[in-house]
């Protein structure tokens, strides 16, 4: 395996991580800005990446900015928000062609970094705030994004399950924020908020490509002014919510759907910062992460109840989420089979074959990520920045290889099913669980 290393340099309190690799034909730039996930911030944070993409100091209109990117051999500029535990992350990214593979050989990196830095640090301003029409348009878009959650029933069910399970915890907040906050947001107060975020929240900037680390750092240094080099706050690494006192609950939502969406939420009581995290990854792999896992075999292949049935981890929050799409009348049958698989994991009903398959597929998955620049970045950011500890790929692969059946059973004992969520049709008795 060819391994890839990041070189980390600090500019003020902004961390810059650069990885030089010859295998990509483009250069990837990605910035993460971390904010606490809180009701008073969530909608404003969610709004920032789309407003920042509307115009910069040098390219004040969106058309000018987009056309600049086009003529730049289709450089992409994108932005989004996501949650990692009780933290809300803004990401702004850019991907630029490497001129080595173009017939026109002028360097795109210099200008690329300038444009990327502008998008982050020098938005187009109007009367000391963001441009009002941009903010109003992006508020409308954000509202549309929030309302369209319902359109993708798999995502909708997953968000509803988390809302019910984590009621009262910040994690219940939707990453795109709340519609009710939008009327209070305007170009002035959003800009004030932006300044606070850009000057005080932790920022990590990544660059991956056929580039020299020195070059990238030098170019970024020119774009990171004094006001950005002050001391930044540190966000607490969230720890798992212990749920001993919580009881299992069932929540049923009704919409006009043909297929029922079943989601089960468990607390893992182990997170990415724990030594038991590799064992938790193994647990998830054996239980539901792959087509050789218990869920796929028992719910789909044996019982023929579903097309998909799988589980995934929210490693920073300590959740295990099970998802399946089933015939509405099969609700109880499916829950029963899934619970039996949870019980089997706790009883240590794990074969050597399952252990070997899961080690092999997990190691494959992790190594494959190294071939995609943005996944490479996310791996480093998750494992070595957000986790509050330094975990390299080699170390993680080594730890996974060492996991024994007893370790997985120990993790299994900590896993507690808390919420059974079912999205179903409007038919039948409204009170019956079917």
């Amino acid at each position: 395996m060819s391994t890839i290393q990041f070189e980390t340099v600090s500019i003020g309190d902004v961390r810059v991580h650069v990885c030089s690799s010859e295998k990509f034909k483009t250069t990837a730039l990605l910035a993460f800005i971390a904010q606490e996930l809180k009701p008073e911030y969530v909608t404003k944070t969610a709004l920032l990446p789309s407003v920042l993409q509307r115009g910069t100091a040098s390219y004040p209109t969106t058309i000018e900015l987009r056309r600049k990117l086009d003529s730049f051999y289709g450089a992409t500029l994108f932005g989004d928000v996501f949650k990692r535990g009780e933290r809300h992350l803004i990401q702004i990214g850019m991907e630029i062609a490497n001129e080595r593979y173009l017939s026109e050989k002028k360097s795109l990196l210099d200008e690329g970094i300038n444009l990327f830095s502008e998008a982050l640090f020098s938005p187009h301003l109007e009367q000391g705030g963001f441009k009002a029409s941009y903010v109003e348009a992006e508020k409308k878009n954000l509202k549309q994004k929030i309302e369209s959650l319902q359109d993708d029933k798999i995502r909708y069910a997953s968000q509803r399950m988390v809302e019910e399970m984590c009621k009262g915890e910040p994690y219940a907040l939707f990453n795109h924020g709340r519609i009710e906050d939008l009327p209070q947001i305007d170009a002035q107060n959003l800009y004030t908020y932006y300044q606070e975020v850009i000057q005080t929240c932790p920022i990590d900037i990544y660059c991956v490509g056929n580039v020299s680390a020195d070059d990238v750092v030098k170019r970024l240094e020119r774009n990171i002014g004094d006001s950005l080099r002050q001391r930044r706050k540190t966000l607490a690494v969230p720890s798992a919510v212990h749920s001993a006192a919580r009881k299992e609950k069932t929540v049923i939502d009704r919409l006009n759907v043909k297929q029922g969406k079943l989601n089960l939420g468990c607390r893992t009581n182990v997170t990415i910062q724990d030594d038991d995290y590799p064992a938790l990854m193994m647990y998830n792999g054996i239980f539901g992460g792959f087509p050789h896992s218990k869920l796929f075999l028992n719910v789909r292949e044996k019982a023929s109840l579903a097309y998909y049935c799988s589980s995934r981890l929210e490693s920073h929050k300590g959740l295990l989420i099970i998802q399946s799409g089933i015939e509405i009348s099969n609700f109880e049958k499916a829950v029963d089979i899934i619970k039996k698989q949870l019980a089997a994991m706790q009883q240590g009903d794990i074969s050597d074959k399952e252990l070997d398959q899961t080690k092999a597929t997990l190691s494959n998955q992790l190594k494959e990520q190294q071939d995609r620049s943005f996944e490479l970045i996310h791996f480093h950011f998750n494992q070595s920045v957000l986790s509050g500890r330094e975990r390299t790929l080699e170390a993680l692969l080594h730890d996974l290889e060492q996991v024994r059946k007893e370790d997985i059973t120990r993790v299994a004992e900590k896993i507690q099913l808390e919420t059974i969520y079912f999205l179903r049709d409007q038919e039948g008795n409204a009170n019956a669980k079917n």
């Binding site: 058309i63 086009d70 003529s71 549309q144």
Partner: protein, 430 residues
């Protein structure tokens, strides 16, 4: 084995056609961890009426190519082949499109074993009455999942609105009713017709040694016996130029409407192959991007007026017997959006595309091509798709460079024909 060098993009491709007719392509990617392989048959959902040389003409139930794809994973041992791939650290999958069925794996270890598994499982069908019945429950849930998916419904709605006869209008998975008619005998017939090596292509991309790899493939294939190569004749009904329906609407439980629209190609612009197909495809993509892409004035004014959001995009498909553009996304007001399109798109088209706009978008497409070349999945799948139409993926940049602004404006005149315009809308329940 033939060696084909593409100097500008620094890629070297190896090619060999085996005695049994199988086409093999190998693309070494030094520095990558992952090897990605696809084993693809030129057989998709549209191939529902066919005749093999010396046999009778047949029509088969809708959804059978996709059903067959599911069943290939079954093995006589009772263990599905996913288990074997997992043991060998690979992640395996398959998909069926209108024109292809592809089986694939990716792995970072044990490439030779996984490659052997791929070749062997696709070349040894095992269907029983019982395993065919069991699959109907699973695929039934797959169909239901798509029924509830508004993006899929609006996508397919537009194709249904455009096509009167061509089987592209039939959902790839079929319906719960049509798959109920599938039997193991029918599956074997389709398998024997379309899974002959001469109808298939193997593509491998990753840190592989081409000589050792081709040797393994040669040995694997020469140890198996196949029927002699027979010609497959596929039948497609005559498709009129007119669309089936001008507007197709459905109601679903959505928060926001989805609105897709586009132009169907007439008879004279489908059934292209080779460079002509690539030229038309790339030229049409440039036309769409220039008229209504994210850096166009029209896009920006619709965006500023709150009629579209960043889900708005455009796409173009061109394959055996069909071709269409597809434009749209989420909108609060599909009717007003369409009104604006009908009012403003003709004006923009009349003004034509300027040399500056053309140059800018051509650059954008060249850069996008480099971005895609980072992706082994994109290379393998798109290469196969092009190859099945006698075109060459690695010629995209030269073809882009050969286009002129006149080509683009001519293509625009041909494509933007309001008699072949159709619309698909998914609205919230009233």
């Amino acid at each position: 084995m033939q060696k084909i060098e593409h100097r500008q993009i620094e890629e070297t491709l190896y090619y060999e056609k085996l005695p049994n007719g199988l086409q093999v392509y190998l693309l070494p990617k030094p520095g990558f961890n992952k090897t990605y392989a696809t084993f693809t048959t030129r057989y998709g959902s549209i191939d529902n009426t066919f005749q093999v040389q010396g046999q009778e003409k047949m029509s088969v139930p809708d959804g059978i190519a996709h059903f067959l794809e599911h069943k290939m994973f079954e093995q006589p041992s009772g263990e599905d082949v996913f288990q074997e791939f997992s043991r060998q650290g690979a992640s395996a999958n398959a998909f069926t499109s209108f024109t292809r069925t592809a089986y694939l794996f990716s792995c970072t270890d044990q490439v030779q074993k996984n490659l052997t598994t791929l070749l062997d499982f696709v070349q040894s069908p095992y269907f029983t009455d019982q395993n065919v019945e069991k699959e109907k429950g699973i695929i039934g849930q797959e169909i239901r999942m798509y029924d509830d998916n508004p993006d899929w419904r609006s996508y397919f709605g537009l194709i249904e609105a455009m096509y009167q006869q061509h089987p592209v209008k039939i959902d790839i998975a079929g319906t719960i009713e049509s798959i109920s008619k599938i039997t193991k005998e029918l599956l074997y017939t389709c398998y024997q017709t379309f899974y002959h090596p001469s109808n298939m292509l193997l593509f491998l991309v990753g840190p592989v040694d081409p000589e050792a790899t081709i040797e393994l493939i040669r040995e694997n294939q020469s140890a198996k016996t196949f029927d002699e190569i027979k010609e497959i004749h596929r039948f497609f009904p005559d498709e009129p130029d007119q669309v089936a329906e001008k507007v197709k609407e459905v109601e679903l439980s959505v928060g926001i409407s989805k609105c897709l629209f586009g132009f169907k190609e007439g008879k004279d612009a489908v059934n292209l192959t080779g460079e002509a197909l690539m030229k038309q495809e790339l030229a049409t993509q440039i036309v769409l991007e220039a008229l209504i892409g994210s850096s166009s004035e029209l896009y920006q004014s619709l965006y500023d007026d709150g009629l579209i959001d960043d889900s708005f995009g455009c796409d173009y498909s061109l394959d055996r017997g069909y071709g269409f553009s597809m434009i749209g996304g989420d909108t609060f007001d599909p009717d007003q959006l369409l009104q604006r399109i009908r009012d403003e798109l003709p004006k923009r088209a009349e003004q034509g595309i300027s040399p500056e706009t053309f140059e800018r978008i051509r650059k954008k497409k060249i850069g996008a091509n480099l971005r895609f070349l980072n992706s082994p999945e994109w290379i393998a799948n798109q290469f196969t798709n092009y190859r099945f139409n006698d075109a060459d993926l690695f010629k995209i940049i030269p073809v882009l460079e050969s286009l002129s602004v006149d080509d683009i404006n001519r293509r625009m005149q041909q494509h933007i024909d309001w008699n072949r315009f159709a619309v698909s809308i998914v609205r919230p329940h009233s």
